[in-house]
C-alpha cells in the first residue's frame, strides 16, 4: 500500500512513521525542508498536560491525551531518541491577584475529574520539599503528578531522521490539492492508495471552518534557576507554562490570540510573558533570551480536532494547542480506521466538517 501525506508537521510525521512501521510505502509532501519551517510544531512548548487541560478543553482531549501520554515513551524508543521527555509532573501556582483563577481551576478540576490521585493540593512546606525554587514566592500549589513534557525540536528532527532512514520519500513542494487517491504538489499529481491531509492551516482552501489562533513563546537560558517540574502560572487570559529543557534552558508560552497573523512576537506579549516568568523566580532576571517565536495553530470552532474520512482520503486537522498531546492517539485512530477497525475517538470522525 502506498500513502501520500501532505504536510510534514507533527501529525504528518507521526502518521508517516506509524504507516511505515505497518509496512506501507510513504511519500511526504511539504513546502519546508525536514529541518525546520512554518509548522506549528516548531513553536510548541511540548506540554503533555491532559489533566490541566480539563479546565478549558473537552473531555475527548483529556481522554486522547492520556492515551498519547502512554504511547510517547514507546514511540520515542522506536525513534531512537529520548526526546527530552520527562514525566515528572506539573505544579500550578498563582500570585495573590490571581487567587480567584486558581480557585476556579481547582474546583473545575475537582468537579470534572473526581478522585484525589491526579491532583494534590500542596502547602508551603510540601511545595518547598518538592520544588524549592518555587517556595520562595508561593505558599501553595496544585501538583499534577502524571503530567509530562518533551522537546518538540528534538522530536521533530528525530522523526525526520527515522523517516528517511526507513525509506520515506520526502518531496519538498507546495501542496495545492489533496483528494481521494492523490496529492497535487508543485504542479504534479501524485497517485496513491490513500492520501492523508495533515496540512494544518495550509488546508484552509479545502477544509472549511478552520481558523488560526496565534501563540507566542520565548526561549531562555537561565543558569540560576533549577526547576524539576513543568510549571503552570495562573493568568487571566492565557494558559501559561514554563517548561524546563536540558542544560537550564526554559520555554515560556503561550499567548492565545484570536488572529491568524504569524508575524513576530509583539512588545505587549513579550512583556506579559517575561514579567510572568520573572514573577516566578528572581533568578530569571539575568536569564538570556535565546529566541522568540510566534505561530498560528489550526482550530475548528469548538477547538476539537477532526478526522475527515472517505475511502482513499483522510484529513486530520484542528489540533489547536494540542499537537503533541494528541498526535500519537490520532495517528493510532487513523490506522485503525483505514484497517476497518473502530478507533478510540469515533466521535471525532466525519465525512465532512459538520455544520
Amino acid at each position: 500500500m502506498h500513502a501520500a501525506i501532505a504536510g510534514a508537521g507533527i501529525m504528518g510525521r507521526l502518521l508517516a512513521w506509524r504507516l511505515l512501521r505497518a509496512g506501507w510505502r510513504v511519500s511526504l509532501f511539504d513546502r519546508d525542508p525536514p529541518e525546520g519551517g512554518g509548522a506549528a510544531a516548531y513553536t510548541a512548548a511540548g506540554m503533555l498536560a491532559p489533566w490541566a487541560e480539563v479546565e478549558s478543553a473537552e473531555e475527548a482531549i483529556h481522554r486522547l491525551g492520556l492515551r498519547a501520554l502512554a504511547l510517547w515513551p514507546e514511540l520515542l524508543a522506536e525513534l531512537g531518541t529520548d526526546g527530552d521527555f520527562h514525566q515528572r509532573g506539573s505544579l500550578v501556582v498563582a500570585h495573590a491577584g490571581d487567587r480567584a483563577d486558581y480557585r476556579r481551576f481547582a474546583s473545575l478540576l475537582a468537579a470534572r475529574l473526581p478522585g484525589a490521585e491526579h491532583c494534590r493540593a500542596l502547602d508551603g512546606a510540601a511545595l518547598a520539599a518538592l520544588e524549592p525554587a518555587l517556595a520562595e514566592r508561593f505558599g501553595e500549589a496544585l501538583h499534577l503528578p502524571g503530567e509530562a513534557w518533551l522537546d518538540p525540536l528534538v522530536v521533530m528532527s528525530a522523526l525526520a531522521r527515522a523517516l528517511r532512514a526507513s525509506g520515506a520519500v520526502w518531496r519538498r513542494a507546495e501542496v495545492s490539492r489533496v483528494g481521494v487517491g492523490f496529492v497535487e504538489a508543485g504542479g504534479i499529481r501524485y497517485g496513491c492508495d490513500w492520501a492523508f491531509d495533515c496540512r494544518g492551516l495550509g488546508a484552509r482552501g479545502e477544509v472549511p471552518g478552520l481558523r488560526g489562533v496565534r501563540g507566542e513563546v520565548i526561549r531562555l537560558h537561565a543558569p540560576e534557576v533549577e526547576l524539576c517540574h513543568m510549571v503552570r502560572l495562573m493568568h487571566p487570559r492565557y494558559r501559561l507554562y514554563v517548561v524546563p529543557r536540558r542544560g537550564r534552558d526554559f520555554v515560556i508560552g503561550a499567548t492565545q490570540i484570536e488572529s491568524d497573523d504569524p508575524g513576530p512576537i509583539t512588545v505587549r506579549s513579550a512583556l506579559e510573558l517575561l514579567s510572568a516568568l520573572y514573577s516566578l523566580h528572581p533568578g530569571f532576571a539575568e536569564a538570556r533570551v535565546t529566541a522568540t517565536a510566534a505561530n498560528c495553530r489550526p482550530a475548528f470552532a469548538d477547538n476539537l480536532p477532526r478526522l475527515l474520512a472517505v475511502p482513499g482520503l483522510l484529513r486530520i486537522n484542528g489540533l489547536f494547542r494540542h499537537g503533541f498531546l494528541l498526535a500519537p492517539a490520532l495517528a493510532e485512530a487513523a490506522l485503525a480506521r483505514i484497517a476497518g477497525a473502530a478507533s478510540r475517538c469515533e466521535a471525532l470522525f466525519f465525512e465532512e466538517v459538520p455544520a
Binding site: 478549558s56 488560526g212 488572529s259 491568524d260 498560528c296 470552532a301 476539537l304
Partner: protein
C-alpha cells in the same frame, strides 16, 4: 423594546466576546443570553482577526468595537477610527485605561477622547467610573450614553457603590446608563436594572462560568426580572416591620 442610541433592542443585556473556552461555546452563550449587542476587542487583533469576527457576524447581532488596551486619548482615537473602518459602525466603546492593575479608566483621557470622537461623528459609549462629575463632563462633551463600572473589570464583586450609581441615575435622567464591568452573578445584574439602569454589559461572569451557556441564560432572566421590578415600582424601605396581617386580634398570651 428599548432604544440604545438610535437602535431598537429587545434585550437589556450587552455581552462581551473574550475568554470563552471556544468560539463555538461563545456563539452558544451569546445566543442563550439573548443579547443584541456584542462587544469586540480590536487592539490585539487588528491583523488577522477576520475568522474570529466572522464567528460573531454569523450571530446577527450588532457589534460594539472597543478600545480595550488603550492608555491614552490619542491611542484610543486611532483605534476607534480603525474599528469604524473594519466593522462599518460608528459605535465605539471607549476605554482609556489609567491604571493597569484594576483597569481603572482615566477620566481625563476619557473626556478628551470622547469630545474628539463625537466631533468625528462617533456614537461614544464611554467606560467610566460612577463619579458624578466625570459623568457630567462626558455628557457635556456630547455623550448620550454612560457606562459606569459596577466594580473593576473581571472582579465579579457586583455593585460596589450602589449609592454612587443611584446618584448618577437620579442626576442624569435623560442619559442612557449601562453598568459595565465587575458583575459576577445574575443578582448583580438584576440589582443594576432595579436601580433604573437601562442595561448591563458583562463578559467574564459568563465566559468563565463552569457552564457559560447556562450562565448566559441565567443573566438573560435576571436582566428581565430586574427591569420588570424597576418598572413595577418598588415599595419603599421602612425602619420597622409592618405585618401584612393586623395584630390587633392576636390573643394577648401570643404577644411577647
Amino acid at each position: 423594546m428599548w432604544q440604545l442610541a438610535d437602535h431598537e433592542l429587545d434585550s437589556r443585556l450587552l455581552i462581551g466576546s473574550s475568554l470563552y473556552p471556544s468560539p463555538r461555546i461563545m456563539q452558544e452563550a451569546i445566543r442563550a443570553s439573548g443579547a443584541g449587542v456584542v462587544t469586540v476587542a480590536l487592539r490585539r487583533q487588528q491583523r488577522g482577526g477576520e475568522d474570529f469576527w466572522a464567528a460573531l457576524r454569523e450571530l446577527d447581532v450588532r457589534l460594539l468595537p472597543n478600545t480595550a488596551g488603550c492608555h491614552s486619548a490619542r491611542e484610543a482615537i486611532t483605534t476607534a477610527q480603525m474599528a469604524r473602518e473594519l466593522f462599518g459602525t460608528h459605535w465605539i466603546k471607549l476605554e482609556v485605561i489609567g491604571d493597569d492593575y484594576n483597569l481603572q479608566p482615566d477620566p481625563f483621557g476619557l473626556v478628551e477622547a470622547a469630545r474628539e470622537l463625537i466631533a468625528q461623528g462617533f456614537e461614544v459609549f464611554p467606560y467610566c467610573t460612577e463619579d458624578l462629575v466625570v459623568g457630567e463632563k462626558l455628557v457635556a462633551a456630547g455623550c448620550r450614553i454612560l457606562m459606569p463600572w459596577g466594580a473593576p473589570i473581571g472582579t465579579a464583586r457586583g455593585l460596589l457603590n450602589p449609592y454612587g450609581l443611584r446618584t448618577l441615575r437620579e442626576r442624569l435622567p435623560g442619559i442612557t446608563l449601562i453598568v459595565d464591568a465587575g458583575l459576577g452573578v445574575p443578582s448583580h445584574a438584576a440589582q443594576a436594572l432595579e436601580l433604573g439602569y437601562d442595561a448591563v454589559l458583562l463578559n467574564t461572569a459568563i465566559a468563565q462560568a463552569a457552564d457559560p451557556v447556562a450562565m448566559a441564560a441565567a443573566f438573560r432572566h435576571a436582566v428581565q426580572a430586574g427591569r420588570l421590578g424597576f418598572e413595577a415600582g418598588r415599595m419603599p424601605e421602612r425602619d420597622l416591620a409592618q405585618p401584612s396581617t393586623p395584630v390587633v386580634g392576636t390573643p394577648f398570651w401570643q404577644q411577647t
